[in-house]
């Protein structure tokens, strides 16, 4: 269970090469899917284009449920990239994991809190940026002391809590899924009896993990838009 990470230090920064690999793989897969789906764009969509347009509309629906489209339209790309990236990332660790020299190479990048917290921090930072950009600094600052100035410490805590929960929720779900899959796979390898006993729970858990992965991608995007709306909207 306790595999090591292939660490590498460059310019004083420590890289987990497994993360680097999986982030790259995820990005490439997302990009290839998106480009293949939009290679032959037509007014009458077919196949993959239909699927991607459905995703577009889905994300649009998420944004629209939080803010009006005039403000939220600029977050469409962010939402699309987030939902596709996180979904693909969640799926990658499901079929197998690769361990070389007791070092874990192939896994979901979202099973690492560094990755999920980076995404969460980026989202929260963006929400602050757009809060200032769209409403002005005064309105933005007023958000911290409304409805009562006494809430200011809570508001500050809320920002960090948001970041942490957003990142750790995703990490926890995916990491737990992978741990259980690894346990099941471990018992699969123990012998005939173990294989027979573990095969059905493994399949069931993989199916459930697909569901969890999709739900988590949706929740991450949804909460991103909720935080955005909270900072961007005028009536707060």
């Amino acid at each position: 269970m306790h595999h090591e990470a292939p660490l590498y230090t460059l310019f004083g920064l420590t890289f987990n090469l497994a993360n680097v690999l999986m982030i790259t793989v995820t990005s490439v897969i997302v990009f290839v899917i998106a480009v293949l789906a939009t290679r032959n764009l037509a007014m009458k969509p077919t196949g993959m284009q239909n699927f991607l347009e459905w995703v577009m509309d889905f994300v649009k629906g998420i944004i629209k449920s939080n803010m009006d489209w005039k403000t939220g339209g600029r977050f469409h790309m962010l939402g699309m990239t987030l939902i596709m990236y996180i979904f693909v990332a969640n799926m990658l660790g499901l079929p197998f994991s690769v361990v070389i020299d007791n070092k874990l190479w192939w896994k979901s990048p979202t099973a690492d809190p560094v990755v999920t917290l980076t995404l969460a921090t980026m989202v929260v930072a963006l929400s602050h940026y757009y809060g200032i950009k769209l409403n002005g600094f005064k309105e933005y600052a007023k958000g911290f002391v409304s409805p009562m100035p006494i809430l200011f410490p809570l508001k500050i805590i809320e920002e960090f809590a948001n970041t942490l929960t957003l990142g750790l929720r995703l990490y926890g779900n995916i990491f737990a899924g992978e741990i259980l899959l690894a346990l099941l796979a471990g018992s699969l390898a123990t012998g005939v009896g173990g294989t027979i006993a573990a095969i059905i729970p493994t399949i069931a858990w993989q199916g459930f993990s697909i569901f969890v992965g999709a739900i988590q991608a949706f929740i991450f995007t949804m909460l991103t838009m909720v935080y955005m709306a909270h900072k961007v909207s005028h009536d707060h």
């Binding site: 420590t14 990009f31 990239t81």
Partner: protein, 169 residues
Amino acid sequence: MFVLGAGGHGFNGGDIAFQLVMFLLLMFLLRKYAFGPLMGVMKQREEHIANEIEQAEKHHQEAKKLAEEQRELMKKSRQEAQALIEEARKLGEEQKEQIIQAARQEAERLKEAAKKEIAQEKEQAMVALRQQVASLSVLIASKVIEKELSEQDQAKLISEYIQEVGESR
């Protein structure tokens, strides 16, 4: 090592930087090569559909107007036809009346002419009859006279005539 993934070997800043850069790069590339064009097509389709709907509405309106016009025209032409038939009927009636009148007059005239002719014929026949009767009576008279008048009587008669002639002179 899974305690927040920090691993205990220094700051994991490389992952953070790499994840950030990759995510932003991915977003940029997706916008440029996939979602941007897709969005364009979707917007284009939206406009196309809106256009089509507008067009359809316009056509519908036009068709409605045309149908109304057609109905109006139909009504008008029906009325016109009705009027024409009415007029023709009236004309026919008039002509019938005229023809009957003319026929009646003609008949009257013919009757009159026939009557006149009959009268004329009758007159002529009377004249002819009268002449016939006269000549016949003369003939009969002469026959009778021939048979009954004696020499004496003849002489007497002649002398009477002569006397008469002489007196009238």
